[in-house]
Amino acid sequence: MKFVDEYRDRATVETLTTAIRSAVSRPWTIMEICGGQTHAIVKHGIDRLLPEEITLVHGPGCPVCVTSVELIDRAVAIAARKGVIFTSFGDMLRVPGSSRDLLGVKATGGDVRIVYSPLDAVALAAKNPDRSVVFFAVGFETTAPANAMAAVQARKLGLTNFFLLTAHVLVPPAIAAILGSPSNRVQAFLAAGHVCTVMGYEEYLPLAERFRTPIVVTGFEPVDILHGILLAVRQLEEGRADVENQYARVVRREGNAGARAVIAQVFEPSDRTWRGIGTIPMSGYRLRPAFASMDAEQHFDVGHLEARESPLCIAGSVLQGIRKPHECPAFGRECTPERPLGAPMVSSEGACAAYYRYGALNHGR
């Protein structure tokens, strides 16, 4: 299959792993920020091809995983209301809130539906004028343009029954928070190629400089990831801390101007609470005042929510790269994809689920 097979080519992979081996002279810890990359790494067994000097840690780049329990509880409360059609991307439905998940709401009579595009939710709102259609706007910068487009489209259609429950998160503030943490051990980052496709990578330049940390914008296929690791290792070995673009076939320095414009029209940066990590300043999006009438949080008063999380779950440490999924005492015991305690065990992009599914159980490092 063109545009896929050449990036999963065994010979190219071998060339890259050989180059990494010859470039590395001492231990380095590299974080891939994006859950899509975590998934690819364990699915293809990329980490097993690396020399033992290199430790990959998995970052907080899974939007499902970092959405706060309070927000999940809010989603559950809204979805359970009569007259509401609650729409969401699929993997959000199984994330445990304090007492239940969205699939549980569906099982007890709530109208919860999976959509693949937020525009499908807009179409549902147009088709059901007597119902309130809520879309759970989750994701990093990657999904923000489509979600913003949905708001613009709903406005254009004059819909008053379409709402967004916004849970958007942003990558650069998360990188800054990780690098600024006293327990940080990450020495280089693979930045998420798809996020940078939208946003470009100019905002990473001051981060690399301030924290003296290499950042490599990286794609999602095995060849991309190994190439990204090679570029990062070379920088580390040479003592450089630059922003490099491995994913140049897709990512431009300034990103996608049209996508950025529609984001700016609908959303503005705001503080955001990350599950397991805490509040990071200006690390999310909320709707601009002009779109406040679509804000599900404002429209639906669900009262006070008391969020509760399992005391066993170490999701916060996993998402910051401080501990690996299999180092959690609950991993594979109390916490499995069937009965997840924390969000990283739910999403296919979650580090714990990826480790569980692809059998990184026996990973020694």
């Binding site: 091809l49 199984r94 999976i114 990184a360």
Partner: protein, 353 residues
């Protein structure tokens, strides 16, 4: 001299039940309308000698030998999808379960739970699909039942079919037969059914040429058994896909399985759809695929027999049974690394980005 008398054998009234464009609750009431539904929808579609007496049950003469007996309930949304319908599934699924026992499928029963309001034309189309699939598989539908439930309490129609098949002498297929050294063969590209269904689901629809692989596999199995009567295991990887089926087999036989990712046939269009949706084809449902564990010395003969059959033209060796890592399925990825292939937990859900 030729007999000029017109024959009415096999004749059935092609007219729909005009007065009732939709199924009513009364069609399940056991009275006149139930009778009419059976007489005008199911009897013409399924007509055969064993059904003809319309007794409380069919009286069968399956001959000598061991019997295989199976049952399955079919619920699918939408009822009609690219490459088939719930009617095709209800026949092929049960036929295939019998075939996986090494049996020659002979008789099916069919029970319908119909939701009030189902279009009569849809029910007739489903019955016709069942007849066509049954003819293709060489089985007859010999007994059945219908019930009608209130609107909103069903999803159009649910169908349960049970099947009886006869196992030829010398055939012994069971998971515990699987031993290290066995070669694992699949009869063609995987993941077509699940993706075809997904492509027409409300809210997820996308344009594609992918059609379900729904097919009765019994004639393919017969060809395989002719090439190697001592086949160890046959299994159809339906829900949960190839990965879940192989995990079950590994656990039941206490052996390990090693797959070669690059050998597993997946059509490009299916691969593309899986990439977009965030699905792993190994976990996507099939309805016309089987996996065989074949004694190594017979592998080439079985593969050749499969490739000579229309439903096995793209058959391929996808891995082998090993004594290492009992009950665990591993896969050598396309880039040469190894990983474990686990059971599917829950259902695959489309990912965010």
């Amino acid at each position: 001299m030729a007999d000029e008398t017109p024959s009415f054998d096999g004749f059935s009234c092609p007219l729909p039940i005009d007065r009732y464009p939709h199924v009513l609750l009364a069609h399940g009431g056991g009275g006149k309308l139930t009778h009419e539904l059976i007489e005008r929808v199911f009897v013409p579609a399924f007509r055969n000698d064993d059904l003809a007496p319309m007794h409380d049950g069919a009286v069968l003469s399956p001959g000598t030998g061991r019997l295989a007996f199976t049952t399955d309930a079919y619920v699918v949304h939408p009822l009609f999808f690219p490459g088939g319908s719930i009617g095709d599934l209800a026949v092929c699924g049960t036929v295939n379960d019998l075939a996986m026992c090494g049996a020659t499928p002979r008789y099916l029963s069919a029970a319908f739970v119909i939701e009030e309001g189902l279009a009569m034309a849809d029910l007739q189309r489903i019955a016709a699909d069942m007849r066509r699939a049954a003819d293709r598989a060489g089985v007859t539908i010999v007994t059945g039942d219908t019930k009608v439930v209130d609107r909103g309490k069903g999803d159009g129609v649910f169908i349960t079919t049970s099947g009886i098949g006869v196992i030829p002498a010398g055939v012994d297929i069971r998971p515990t037969n699987m031993i290290p050294g066995d070669v694992l063969i699949v009869n063609g590209p995987i993941a077509q059914h699940g993706i075809a269904i997904m492509s027409v689901r409300e809210g997820l629809s996308f344009d594609t040429q992918i059609v379900s692989d729904t097919a009765p596999l019994n004639s393919l199995v017969a060809a395989m058994l002719a090439a190697c009567p001592a086949l160890h295991v046959l299994r159809d990887p339906t829900r949960g896909g190839v990965a879940s089926t192989l995990n079950e087999l590994a656990a039941q036989s206490g052996t390990g399985i090693e797959l070669e990712e690059t050998s597993i046939p997946v059509d490009d269009e299916v691969r593309g759809a899986c990439e977009i949706l965030g699905f792993d084809p190994l976990y996507v449902a099939n309805e016309g695929k089987l996996i065989a564990a074949v004694p190594a010395p017979s592998a080439d003969a079985v593969l050749a027999a499969m490739r000579a059959h229309p439903l096995g033209a793209q058959a391929a060796v996808i891995g082998r049974v090993v004594s290492d890592h009992p009950s665990v399925v591993t896969l050598r990825s396309s880039i040469g690394s190894m990983r474990i292939v686990d059971m599917l937990s829950g259902e695959q859900l489309p990912r965010i980005c």
